[in-house]
């Protein structure tokens, strides 16, 4: 869809919007020609595309407020957008709406080493926060693998995780305060510089709200002292069952590693081929178990972890000697996606969470699905918190393969629910998982979620159509073709 095929309704709306926004923003902040808005037609879930009517790129909070007020008065949907690295289509534009790019809000307002906090605008990149905090020996803990590109506003909207969640928590656990604008452009603050605020704790709603409750403008994050030392154990296992049992045993022993990741055999081979990290190619599964803290803590924890891994059938154990080797161990895991890209023309990344104890069961189930759908699947797991990312390999140019791939993905998600898990651990629902929400939640639960949205956004203009499927949609699910997407920019590290 582009300028040439704009329906008359869209064209009229666009003309009206552009003329109103032109009174509120400098011309450089308004995009509406097809060649300009095309770049905003999707986020990293490229299977879903929609060119927005207008893209507004405000430069001040007052301008954002003015745009919101104007859209509110005209009943125009608003889709806020950070770096566009989201994986579930949360930033997919609305055909009759304004995409609100917050890219220009990229200033780190304050790093306070005594309070161990940073106040940053929403468009600041995740990694930039840690870089700014580094001179003080501090860092921002959540590290989604797209951290070189993704913004803190997007992280808050998605409650992003990373490989260190088990010990350091998700975005929710590392945010103190969020300044936002309501749908009608009023400033509002959630949380504060204190540890709690009066009234209901709305932070868990705002964090993970996928742009549907308010427009996030500014965030105060917690900074942690950078651990003095980190060391990583690489352990091999002869079966996925023994690897799964070892994960449970580590936790049962009272160890909370900084990271606990699992790669299956095929993933290990692909990663080794890509980065030459020295992975054990004979192992059925490899565990990466990291400990960080003071030198004394790390030494004690590493020894305890080795004992547990050995007692649970590790066939080979290697401990990183130095920082260089530790990063080498991680390089394959961090490059799991581009490595998979070399094995297949396309891959579809899934994201669900299951109880840790069902890990081996899940891998076996996926193995069976490989046969059923005649497609290969490689697996990486945030094993410590049960979050799995199966990558289904397929060729998007073959419609029949794409169809099988989508069915494969849907079956993985439903298997996750059946094993006591959830359809998304960290990528969000967006548009991608609307159908799965029909499976995981009852009509009453979905209605209550919709009512929560309405409490923040009575007009229903903030990112409408995401996260909560309509009753009608759920009724039709099963009959309709299930769409699912592919990654854009496969070379960008993720997860």
């Amino acid at each position: 869809m582009n300028g040439a095929t704009l329906s008359s309704e869209r064209a009229a709306r666009q003309k009206q919007l552009v003329s109103i926004l032109a009174q509120l923003l400098p011309t450089r902040c308004i995009l509406f020609r097809a060649e300009d808005t095309l770049a905003y037609e999707c986020d990293a879930l490229t299977a879903y595309r929609q060119v927005p009517l207008v893209v507004a790129i405000p430069e001040t909070e007052a301008q954002v407020a003015a745009v919101l007020k104007a859209c509110h008065a005209l009943n125009v949907p608003i889709v806020a957008r950070g770096a566009g690295t989201g994986l579930s289509g949360g930033a997919l534009p609305h055909s009759m709406g304004v995409s609100l790019s917050l890219a220009k809000f990229n200033t780190i307002l304050k790093v306070d080493p005594v309070a161990r906090t940073a106040v940053v605008q929403c468009g600041v990149r995740n990694l930039a926060i840690s870089e700014a905090a580094a001179p003080h020996g501090l860092y921002y803990a959540p590290d989604p693998s797209s951290q070189i590109a993704c913004t803190i506003g997007g992280n808050v909207a998605e409650n992003s995780g990373g490989v260190h969640c088990l010990k350091y928590g998700l975005t929710l656990h590392n945010v103190l305060r969020v300044r936002a604008l309501t749908v009608d452009g009023e400033a509002i603050e959630f949380g504060s510089a204190a540890l709690d605020t009066a009234g209901l704790d709305l932070m868990p709603l705002i964090v993970g709200s996928e742009g549907m409750l308010a427009v996030i403008i500014e965030v105060t994050v917690k900074l942690l002292p950078r651990p003095v030392l980190a060391r990583c154990i690489m352990a091999s296992f002869a079966t996925v069952e023994s690897a799964g049992a070892a994960v449970a045993a580590v936790i049962a022993a009272g160890i909370i590693p900084a990271g606990l990741e699992l790669m299956d055999k095929r993933m290990t081979a692909a990663a080794e081929d890509f980065v030459h990290a020295g992975y054990d190619l004979d192992a059925a599964a490899i565990l990466l178990c990291e400990s960080d803290g003071t030198a004394e803590e790390v030494e004690e924890e590493i020894q305890r972890a080795i004992d547990v891994l050995n007692a649970n059938g590790a066939t080979r154990i290697e401990i990183s000697r130095d920082e260089k080797q530790r990063l080498k161990f991680w390089s394959g895991r961090k490059n799991a996606f581009p490595a998979s890209g070399r094995m297949s023309p396309d891959y579809m990344c899934m994201d669900s969470t299951i109880p840790r104890k069902r890990l081996a069961e899940m891998l076996r189930a996926i193995e069976a699905m490989e046969g059923k759908y005649a497609l290969r699947c490689v697996n990486v797991f945030h094993a410590g918190d049960g979050n799995l990312h199966p990558l289904i390999l397929f060729d998007a140019n073959d419609p029949e393969e794409l169809r099988r791939c989508e069915l494969f993905g849907a079956e993985i998600l439903e298997a996750s629910i059946n094993l006591g898990g959830t359809v998304t651990g960290e990528h969000g629902v967006g548009v991608e998982k609307l159908n799965s929400m029909c499976v995981q939640f009852s009509a009453a639960e979905r209605a209550q979620m919709m009512a929560v949205k309405s409490a923040f956004d009575p007009a229903g203009l903030l990112n409408p159509g995401k996260v909560i499927p309509s009753l009608q949609r759920c009724a039709e699910y099963g009959k309709m073709h299930v769409h699912r997407g592919m990654l854009q920019f496969p070379d960008l590290p993720r997860f």
Binding site: L170, L195, A198, P204, L205, I255, D385, Q440, R446, S454
Partner: protein, 364 residues
């Protein structure tokens, strides 16, 4: 239908009845926190029939319990497996329940280092004001499917619905713990706490009162003993240290003993939640500092307005815990946009307004 099903059905019947007659329900577990928040009103709805641990898998770090389960029973089950609720929920009596703990949202000495209660809520089953049983969240660590209602109910004082079942994240008891005592005035103690927090020291809890700073270190054995050698301070014998922290947690420390006579002469107990870097707050009365400086308890006869503006000045808020007269409001007034959202949220969960009306704010 099993016992749980019957108990749930009875609760649903009560909700439908109250909804029909537009009458208030005072949701209650052990009733140990009736003093907290605005005065309860309405017909008492005892939820303790819904009791028992539904599932506990130590290797999953998750426990699921019915809301009426005594907190003591839950904590004993966790302790048997070397695990705990690391935020140290206060016990204001033996009868406290898991549901009451979550609804009140309070946490003890370790809160500043381990996070608030809400971070440990993974899932909830609840009844809303339409008598519908709703489940949000789940039993896994990472879950971003839909809005995180399970954490919204933490600290909601029961105004959104009846909590029926809760899944909580649990953690291993840390291998070693030591408590050290230092002589510091308040300003020096706060500075020292801020400095320690910026280092990789295993500071797990802190308290300052009358010139004495207590610090609990907890973590790996080697790390805890090493810090002790470095930082100096007098070591407190383990048993005494244990009582020290649990007495603060449960308000059994003499500082918290506000008698009826004290109340009659206008003294109140306040909780000031402020940025941990806030300097000593000058207010009439006596203060007790926790959470690395972020929580300051105050016994004072000063007017509420005075205390609230002092807290606001440093970026915090003040909650009135114990007072003869709670008419100044227990919780700090919200800004209008926040109150508007609160009202609409309340309306969405409980359209007729039957659940704990007024307990959090008179208008909710």
């Amino acid at each position: 239908m099993d016992a749980k099903g019957h108990a749930l059905q009875r609760l649903i019947d009560r909700v439908m009845e109250a909804r029909h007659s537009k009458s208030a329900l005072d949701i209650r577990g052990g009733g140990t926190k009736c003093f907290y928040g605005n005065a309860p009103r309405g017909d008492v709805l005892d939820v303790r029939e819904l009791s028992g641990i539904t599932s506990y898998e130590p290797t999953e770090l998750v426990v699921t319990a019915l809301a009426g389960t005594p907190l003591a029973e839950l904590e004993a089950a966790l302790a048997d497996r070397g695990q705990c609720l690391p935020f140290e929920p206060p016990r204001f009596g033996a009868a406290g329940t898991v549901g009451g703990m979550v609804a009140a949202g309070l946490a003890g000495p370790a809160r500043a280092s381990v996070g608030p209660l809400r971070d440990f809520v993974l899932g909830v089953s609840m009844l809303n004001g339409m008598g519908e049983t709703l489940t949000f969240g789940g039993q896994v660590m990472k879950n971003v499917a839909g809005y995180d209602v399970s954490r919204l109910v933490a600290g909601s004082m029961g105004i959104l619905g009846i909590l029926c079942e809760l899944s909580l994240k649990v953690m291993p008891v840390l291998p070693a713990s030591r408590t050290l005592c230092f002589d510091f005035d308040e300003a020096a103690a706060l500075k020292q706490l801020n400095r320690w927090a910026g280092e990789t020291l295993p500071v797990n809890a802190s308290s300052w009162h009358q010139g004495q700073l207590f610090v609990r270190l907890a973590g790996a054995k080697a790390a805890v003993s090493c810090v002790q050698q470095r930082s100096g301070g007098r070591e407190i014998e383990p048993h005494a240290a244990g009582s020290w922290w649990s007495d603060i947690r449960d308000h059994r420390h003499p500082f918290f003993a506000v008698t009826d006579t004290d109340l009659e002469r206008g003294e109140s107990l306040w909780r000031l939640s402020v940025p941990d870097t806030a300097p000593p707050i000058s207010l009439p009365g006596e203060q007790f500092v926790e959470w690395g400086g972020a929580q300051r308890w105050l016994r004072s006869t000063a007017p509420a307005l005075h205390i609230r503006s002092a807290a606001a000045e440093v970026g915090g808020h003040a909650t009135l815990l114990r007072a003869a007269d709670k008419s100044p409001g227990v919780f700090t007034t919200l800004t209008q946009p926040l109150m508007d959202i609160h009202k609409r949220l309340k309306q969405s969960f409980d359209p007729v307004g039957i659940f704990n009306p007024g307990r959090l704010y008179p208008e909710l």
